[in-house]
């Protein structure tokens, strides 16, 4: 078994060496004084906001995070191993808009947020909740993180994400997670929540992200440290240079996290892509996006870190052929190249701007298919089936064999949405289209979904906490 690798070993080492030179010779701006202090104490050279990282410092610190870790869910059955050969899926993140076939595109609300939590909770293929699955624009930004996290906890018992919108939001999310895990302490004692922190490409981290990074690291809670360099706009147009830049930014963030708390779990996040040169905007449905996912996976393995990349991501504006082609390309590449954490695993449209109810269901099916591929082959005398082949012989058939009935459920993926009827039956059913079927399907799920029970005392404590901080 071997993962797809897009870079040769020599190419990978050249990218790594260039990243080290960027960190040492060009440096990054850190827009937060406490972060500068930590970095200075740790051995970085500081000049104003500019931080220069000696190669040795980077190489030492990058070894400290664990290669894999367990994220604990309210329901232990939903605990997740992040890293190794595992791939987990979380749905779309951060879209301000939402759309469905009937009501069209509009600003997302808390009701949409809750719906996507429920769809994630009900999904067999989404492993955890996305933090800001949509921006609930009807809730004031100051308290959005409280209401989002509460909805995540209330309507599902899968692992969840907290806010990284500055120190206060991060801290309050960590405290809510602590209430849920019942530790009684201010902070949870094992990884139960995690955040996503992004660099401001090129070569900057702003105060808001740095505050959150420092809060999560101090609490020993995991975080994705991510860079999204847009080749040709915020990064060099050449994919190799863009990768070196992405790599430098992610490593700089990881160094800071490790200097704050050695061994704090991090996920190496790389979601760079290219600019659409006609208008200078980000394109994530491009083959360059898939290439970057493969390269990121390789580099993170080189550092022995869990890795995030890929997703059911696209530039298409509505669910349909373009959306699915682009999404499948990026989803399958993530799995085959060994990505561990796939954010935007379902629902996202329009280069991250919009969540679609129908696309959520369509993508979820794709995640199921990719997961079947992930499971691979089990090779043993029973599955090699020599005896059945001998029994049937040339010209026979296998439909009525016990071996067939015993194995087909576990061997074949059972589609939830895809239509495999013959043409005449399909015609007889009124030519159902995938998107229209998905529309019915998501409504069915929402109507029948029963959220797992949240103990009343915990629920009360959480609500009280929210009230106190609102």
């Amino acid at each position: 078994m071997h993962r797809f690798e897009i870079l040769t070993k020599t190419q990978l080492e050249k990218v790594h060496a260039t990243s080290l030179r960027i960190l040492e010779e060009i440096g990054l701006d850190f827009g937060h004084v406490p972060a500068l202090e930590v970095l200075k104490k740790g051995g970085a050279k500081i000049d104003g906001q500019r931080v220069f990282f000696p190669a040795r410092l980077v190489e030492e610190q990058i070894k400290k995070p664990p290669a894999e870790f367990t994220l604990h869910a309210r329901n232990p059955e939903n605990n997740l191993v992040i890293g190794g050969r595992n791939t987990v899926f979380a749905p779309g993140y951060g879209a301000p808009f939402v759309t469905d076939l009937v009501n069209g595109r509009r600003k997302a609300t808390l009701n949409d947020f809750e719906n996507f939590v429920k769809l994630t909770g009900a999904s067999a293929h989404q492993d955890l909740l996305s933090g800001t699955v949509v921006e609930p624009t009807d809730i004031s930004p100051e308290i959005r993180h409280l209401r989002m996290l509460y909805a995540s906890i209330k309507y599902s018992d899968k692992c969840f994400m907290g806010s990284t919108m500055g120190a206060r939001a991060a801290r309050e999310c960590l405290q809510m997670a602590s209430i849920l895990s019942g530790s009684g302490a201010d902070l949870p004692s094992k990884p139960v929540i995690f955040g996503i922190v992004g660099a401001l490409t090129p070569l900057k981290y702003d105060a808001r992200m740095l505050e959150a990074l420092m809060e999560y690291a101090a609490a020993g809670q995991p975080q994705i440290i991510a860079s999204l360099a847009i080749a040709g706009a915020t990064g060099p147009v050449t994919m190799a240079g863009n990768l070196a830049l992405q790599n430098a930014e992610v490593m700089a963030g990881i160094v800071l996290a490790q200097l704050i708390r050695e061994g704090t779990p991090v996920i190496f996040g790389g979601v760079s892509s290219n600019a659409e040169m006609r208008n200078g905007t980000l394109s994530i449905g491009s083959p360059e996006m898939a290439m970057n996912a493969a390269a990121t996976a390789q580099i993170a393995r080189f550092y022995k870190l869990p890795v995030r990349g890929g997703g059911a991501v696209c530039d298409a504006k509505s669910p349909g052929a373009q959306a699915s082609y682009e999404s499948m390309m990026n989803l399958l590449m993530a799995r085959l190249s060994g990505i561990n954490f796939v954010l935007h695993g379902a629902g996202i449209l329009e280069s991250f701007n919009c969540m679609s109810y129908e696309k959520f269901v369509i993508d979820d099916e794709m995640c199921g298919m990719v997961r079947r591929i992930q499971r691979g082959y089990e090779v043993n005398p029973d599955t090699l089936a020599f005896d059945v082949v001998r029994e049937v012989g040339p010209g026979g058939h296998f439909l009525d064999k016990d071996h067939t009935f015993d194995h087909f459920r576990s061997e074949f993926y059972q589609p939830q949405l895809s239509n495999r009827d013959d043409y005449v039956s399909w015609q007889g059913n009124g030519f159902p289209q995938n998107v229209a079927t998905a529309n019915k399907k998501y409504q069915e799920i929402l109507e029948t979904y029963e959220p797992p029970e949240l103990p009343a005392d915990v629920d009360n404590d959480l609500l009280r906490f929210i009230e106190k901080h609102t």
Partner: protein, 470 residues
């Protein structure tokens, strides 16, 4: 670049051993006396139609086929390398029906056939004209195969495929090619066409296919020796067992070709997949199809042979989101697992039953994207762009750099069809769907396509030859 590999080395050996055991002890039926004679003389044990292959015979003969060969085109710019690290695309093959947005689904006719040859010729990504891109139902059976080759030659200068309709179909194909390219000796020096010959799973080759295999092998023309085992119906439900059956069949066919003419070029072709257990029919949009593609690529590499599998294939009935997801899954898997020859790389729908004009254009874009991924990264000082990164520094941008202008065209895939503008512009343009854009594009290409020059005497001789078949 490291291909994705599904199986461990040991598992590859286990599959091989099982196939050898099938060939030696279960045997394969060859329903054609001349083939039985060749196999017997070559060292196989023959009992009636049943042929048992000693392991040594298989190993010896398989070693004789070349690992890589060239398929020569009328225009040498379009010569295609088959094998090694190369990947060639040929559009859909063998569909009975054709569909487009304007006229809906109907039986394919000669005009459609001609149109698809033109679309193939105009495509920057399709390398070979598919043999029977559709079945032209208005052309009499006795000349259909010859008319197909004539049409491929008349409207395109790319390599083409020969008929699989028995001895006669193969002979006529070779004759027609000879009119253009010279006698059989010249043809065998520079192979001009490739044909696809299939087993009748489980473990049978029929007279029609064997007749053609023997003709083409005798003339030194390359062929795809292909097996399509349907797990649960025509082969074991367990995928390793299906792979072992597929493998045994392909090996048996290749042994025959090498006994007829040592070193005749063959492509190891495996297109097996799963049964949809609800309907009992073939499912090719399933993840099991993609798994089989990856496994087939590995088996062929184990034997040192060029390999065919995958395609832009799906169970969907119309070019919708489902079609897109399934097609991209199977196309991407072909690329990352190292498939050399991708048949059905554009247009096919409805589990091979129908070809769509719009899907042809959409899939062609996919092929372009996948080819971009295959190009991979170029890593050198210029591409690593350290100096540009230094120049821009933290917080700057790259849009106005010479480096950006110098490289973006060759670094980024330029989409022909997919839209990457923002939502508002898209909406102002009337929310265009990629189906409609594809429909328009197909029409534009067909209206503007200029047929290549074909010498008048060749044209006349070919037409005269076809008349002799009536």
């Amino acid at each position: 670049m490291q291909w994705y590999e599904l199986l461990t080395e040991r598992e590859v050996e286990q599959i091989h051993e099982t196939s050898i055991q099938i060939l030696a002890t279960v045997g394969v039926d060859f329903r054609y006396a001349p083939a039985l004679k060749v196999l017997k003389k070559g060292g196989a044990r023959v009992d009636g139609e049943r042929v048992f292959f000693p392991g040594r015979l298989v190993d010896e003969q398989i070693a004789k086929a070349p690992a890589e060969f060239t398929l020569y085109a009328r225009d040498s710019d379009y010569d295609v390398l088959i094998g090694g690290e190369h990947m060639a695309f040929a559009p859909g093959y063998g569909a009975t029906f054709v569909t487009d947005m304007e006229h809906g689904r109907r039986e394919g006719i000669q005009r459609d056939f001609k149109n698809f040859v033109k679309l193939t010729d105009a495509s920057p990504y399709q390398d070979i004209c598919s043999g029977i891109v559709i079945e032209p139902s208005d052309v009499p059976h006795e000349i259909r195969h010859a008319q197909a080759i004539y049409t491929a030659i008349k409207y395109s200068t790319k390599p083409f495929m020969g008929s699989a309709m028995g001895v006669q179909g193969a002979r006529d194909s070779i004759q027609l090619a000879s009119i253009l390219f010279g006698d059989q000796n010249q043809l065998s020096q520079k192979p001009r066409m490739i044909s696809i010959l299939c087993s009748l799973t489980p473990l049978v080759f029929d007279e029609r296919m064997l007749g053609a295999i023997m003709e083409y092998a005798g003339a030194g023309q390359p062929q795809l020796i292909s097996s399509l085992a349907i797990a649960g119906a025509t082969s074991p439900v367990t995928l390793p067992g299906t792979l072992a059956v597929q493998n045994a069949e392909v090996l048996a066919g290749i042994v025959l070709t090498q006994l007829i003419r040592e070193g005749t070029p063959v492509v190891f072709a495996g297109a097996s997949s799963a049964t949809d257990m609800r309907t009992g029919s073939l499912s090719i949009g399933s993840p099991e199809m993609a798994l089989n593609t990856a496994a087939t690529a590995q088996m062929a590499r184990f034997y040192g042979l060029p390999v065919r599998s995958g395609g832009a294939i799906c169970d969907a009935k119309s070019p919708d989101a489902q079609a897109a997801g399934e097609s991209m899954m199977n196309l991407m898997m072909a690329q990352v697992s190292g498939i050399n020859f991708v048949l059905h790389s554009a247009g096919i729908l409805d589990s091979y039953n129908c070809i769509s004009y719009e899907k042809f254009i959409i899939d062609d874009e996919l092929c372009g994207m996948v080819k971009r991924i295959k190009q991979g990264y170029e890593v050198n000082a210029d591409k690593l762009a350290m100096e540009v990164i230094r120049e821009v520094g933290p917080g700057g941008h790259y849009l106005d750099r010479d480096h950006t202008f110098d490289h973006f065209r060759n670094e980024f895939y330029q989409p022909q069809l997919f839209r990457r503008d923002d939502f508002v512009s898209w909406q102002l343009n009337g929310s265009p769907r990629c189906m409609q854009a594809a429909h328009n594009r197909a029409r534009e290409i067909l209206e503007s396509h200029e047929s290549p020059e074909l010498p008048a005497d060749v044209d006349r001789d070919m037409q005269a030859f076809i008349e002799t078949l009536r």
